[in-house]
Symmetry: C2
Subunit: 222 residues, 2 copies
């Protein structure tokens, strides 16, 4: 096999496993969100705020992808939700096989929403379907407003873009309108949310989006 | 070939090309620095400050690696130094072949220091030698103090760690001592520098490190 053949085979195998995962999540009626961002954009902190807001109403769980350390899963377990850590070693993204393995290894119980926090990386996770309902990309206001056009694939593939750490807006140069324009150009039907997990601002909009998607997945009550 | 064989071959080919680049940079007595960080940690902004500080004394040039857009090379060209952009398409890192190609495509002229700004990514660039004298990793204070242990390989392989955006320290939770401890555990002989390219604080320490390494590479004057 050539390099191109190998890559094609890896992605085809991943797509097959992701399709099986998607069927499994459809049966359990679990909404699955694949969270992607640079390292340090605030994925885990947003999840902590989400758990505080929604854990009383919905059964939440998380799969945490990291190169090393179990810190992120520990942070969520401390809030009382089941969280399974996947350590990729050197791997720069999660794949569907790893997600299936994590779910088989440890039953997270029946869940309404499963968050999959990908490895901190704006590039590699883009190509790997994990069987999720939708991808969400986070971009913190400290990262600069040029990022959507510099990393276009992930912003095009994400149904929602969360602009995070907006409490720092007064202290950084960050042109919100420029970012909104870039995201809309890449994903015209995408949702753009602003949030600060630290102050709580905007977290309710994010939670409303999750509940709206959960209700749509579950359909009308019988 | 299996996936493992393919990966081994890619890295072996890269190592051979990097060795040839290193010999080329030795002949031209050019100090080469491979800059690596998450997206938005401030690599280009640090380079802009470096150019302002050193361009009068040394011949500087840059190779800019990005998924898309020529923005970073444009920013440096505006300051009057030659800069060549490499667009990787979807690729999450630069490789030695791309660097050789960029240098062959456009002669940057005789240089004292060549900066190679890698694709924004804490994972993939770690494995690819570009023929540089040393790697430098940037970590901005907004990214959180857990990052060295979460992305250990790049902090272990970098001779210098630049903690960037220190002007934001009053506004974020970031334990400098914790980060220093993690970096020292991963790279006991590494240099840790603090800098704000915005206020200029610490930029002179970074420039002093570059000049020290340049002088060491050039040896005593005849």
């Amino acid at each position: 096999m050539t390099e191109v053949d190998v890559r094609r085979k890896i992605l085809a195998d991943n797509a097959a496993t992701a399709a099986a995962l998607r069927a499994r999540f459809a049966r359990s009626r679990t909404l699955v969100v694949n969270l992607i961002s640079s390292p340090g954009s605030g994925k885990t902190t947003l999840l902590e705020a989400t758990v505080r807001a929604l854990a009383g109403r919905h059964r939440l769980g998380a799969i945490e992808g990291d190169i090393a350390t179990e810190r992120d899963a520990d942070r969520l377990r401390r809030l009382g939700i089941p969280a399974q850590q996947i350590l990729t070693g050197g791997g720069c993204h999660l794949d569907a096989r790893q997600v299936r393995g994590a779910l088989d290894e440890r039953d997270l119980g029946p869940l309404d929403i499963l968050f999959i926090e990908n490895v901190g990386n704006l590039v590699c996770p883009t190509s790997y379907d994990l069987g999720e309902d939708f991808k969400t990309v986070l971009l913190s206001v400290t990262e600069g407003e040029d990022k959507p056009f510099k990393y276009p694939a992930i912003f095009a593939k994400s149904e929602a873009t969360v602009i995070s750490k907006i409490d720092l807006l007064p202290h950084v140069r960050f042109d919100l309108d420029e970012v909104r324009g870039q995201v809309r150009a890449l994903r015209p039907d995408g949702r753009i949310l602003l949030a600060s997990a630290l102050t709580g601002e905007g977290v309710s909009d994010w939670c409303a989006l999750l509940e709206e998607r959960l209700a749509a997945k579950r359909g009308p009550n019988p």
